[in-house]
Amino acid sequence: MTQAHCWTSLRRFASVAALAATAAGSAFAQSQGQVTVAVRGGYASYDKSASLDAAPVMGLDAMYGINNWLSIGPALSLGRPQTTGSHFISVITYGVLNLGDTTYFYEATQPVNVLDGALNVRVQLPGRKLSPYATAGIGGYTLFLDVQANRGERHKVGLSFNAGAGALYALTERAGITFDIRSMTYTDYDRNVLDPRDDVVNFRTRVEETLYAEDFKPAPRSKSTVTNFVFSFGFSYVPFFFGGGGS
């Protein structure tokens, strides 16, 4: 995915959030029949085996209140981490060995758009100015790989789970700020899709297949299930057309 694609994706994401924001009245905590929208921004720390560097992440939760302590709704998050270059080192050797050759060492990195969507359930302690909550959900994730690095569109889809906890601090009756810590578990994860060395870059050898392997710290063992953590702050509010009333 190029930077232009990134902007397009985020623009759509921002439109939804902005629409919700403009619709927000003076809002407060969860109550039955209301939809609470939370726009989150923070940092994602990915599993070492995921071979993704930590990166900023944005999220949007829209929770429908079943009663004043239980709510349900979609939760989206989008990040754009860079792949960990030290896990994808390649070697090019120029010249003929018996005459003396020269070997170059390269890291291969690419930006990846990580989109995660889930249906979450949230349990919240009602009726307080500082209201802690717990949340969990199931959904899916998609890794959109860099188009240039992969010579075309390439993506990877999988099932994801999330679970976390946070707290809502009420500013007004219908608005507040949140702090949220959430684990995001990606199943059927395949780190190899992030590796452009074999399919994309010609004339290169993986360093781990050469006599130079010992010079580089080996990448963590590949895992099919990776657990990542997202730390975020957010702004939570109840839009008037979802039960929030006028301002």
Binding site: V57, D101, F105, E107, E214, F235
Partner: protein, 356 residues
């Protein structure tokens, strides 16, 4: 309301900027300095070698053995010691003979040209020596009349061993060079000369139990990378008892003080802590040292120049060759001998100081 919107919009805008920064793919981000490789090719020159001429007695002329020797290095703490034994190779006695040495010295004259000088030396009644060198040819003459061998002792097997001192009365286990009279022919007429080549390896009482060393299958490669110097060798024959493989670097003209002893070979990564210095007699690493066939499948040596006191910049400038040698354990510590197995030229940019 407007103030709230401003706060929300600001947070969101900051997030957008952070998420959509100028990240692009980079498949060629250079890491680490370049490595400059070389290939080591077989040399196998200057291994201990020679011939033994067994002469049968003829009337008043006593039985004798004349041995010509080349390729013995100087020893620091030990002695090359001569023995003679029976046809079974089980009973040996120390033998004394007259040694003559022809040494060719090469020097550079003021014009930079090489001058050679031949010097002759004679040493009577010698049974062990500790000096040697690639520039020497030794002729060692043993006669039953003067050798100290009793009339009842057999003179059918000639043996040279590496002993720790000059007091040995029986040969030790380092029996690396020998010849059998029977291998020089079957004639029995008085005065017959039987010429047999000296064999290098581990002596056995029969040809079936002896081990003949061969340098032929050895091969290797390596590289320089700033302070790092690394060599990987493979398919080496196990060294004869009393020898080990060592890596040296030296300058172009072999001048005194221009040789660097890098160290004995070790097991390859990830077991570099295992030295192969005793691989002649022990299975130091079952992964690479085999008894049958007696071989070392892989070996390596990797150093960082700063641990040897090399300069910070261009640490290997001036060194022209990398050598893998057979080194006698009783040899002079750190001194490069002549038993060369593999050699490679140091990449031009490294030895000339243009690259590091």
């Amino acid at each position: 309301m407007n103030r709230r919107l401003l706060v929300v919009s600001s947070i969101f805008a900051a997030g957008l900027v952070a998420a959509c920064d100028e990240k692009t793919s980079d498949l060629s981000d250079t890491v680490r300095p370049n490595a400059y490789g070389f290939q080591m090719v077989g040399q196998a020159t200057n291994l201990p070698r020679g011939t033994a001429r067994f002469r049968l007695p003829n009337g008043a002329q006593p039985e004798s053995i004349v041995v010509t020797l080349r390729g013995l290095d100087s020893l620091g703490t030990g002695f090359w010691t001569a023995w003679v034994g029976d046809s079974l190779g089980t009973t040996f006695v120390r033998i004394t003979g007259d040694l003559s040495v022809v040494r060719q010295d090469t020097t550079l004259n003021p014009l930079g040209q090489a001058d050679t000088t031949v010097n002759n030396f004679s040493f009577p009644a010698v049974s062990a020596i500790s000096n040697g060198g690639t520039n020497q040819v030794m002729t060692w003459r043993f006669s039953r009349a003067t050798s100290g061998v009793a009339a009842t002792d057999s003179m059918q097997t000639f043996l040279i061993t590496m002993e720790d001192n000059n007091a040995a009365t029986t040969p030790g286990s380092r029996r690396f060079l020998w010849a059998r009279r029977i291998e020089g022919g079957t004639g029995t007429a008085p005065g017959t000369n039987k010429n047999a080549a000296l064999k290098f390896g581990n002596f056995g009482s029969t040809t079936l139990t002896e081990y003949l060393y061969s340098a032929a299958p050895a091969r290797g490669r390596g590289y320089f990378q700033r302070q790092i110097f690394s060599v990987n060798d493979s398919t080496l024959a196990r060294p004869p008892l009393g020898f080990y493989y060592g890596i040296y670097m030296h300058a172009q003209l072999y001048l005194p003080g221009d040789t660097l002893f890098v160290g004995p070979l070790r097991s390859p990564w990830p077991r570099r802590e295992l030295s192969l210095q005793n691989a002649d007699s022990l299975i130091t690493d079952p992964e690479v040292v085999l008894s049958v066939p007696p071989s070392i499948l892989a070996a390596a040596l990797r150093i960082s120049g700063d641990t040897l006191g090399m300069p910070t910049s261009f640490p290997y400038a001036g060194y022209a060759f990398v050598r893998l040698n057979l080194v006698p354990k009783a040899g002079v510590a750190g001194q490069m001998g002549g038993m060369r197995i593999l050699q490679a030229p140091v990449p031009f940019g490294i030895w000339s100081g243009g690259l590091q």
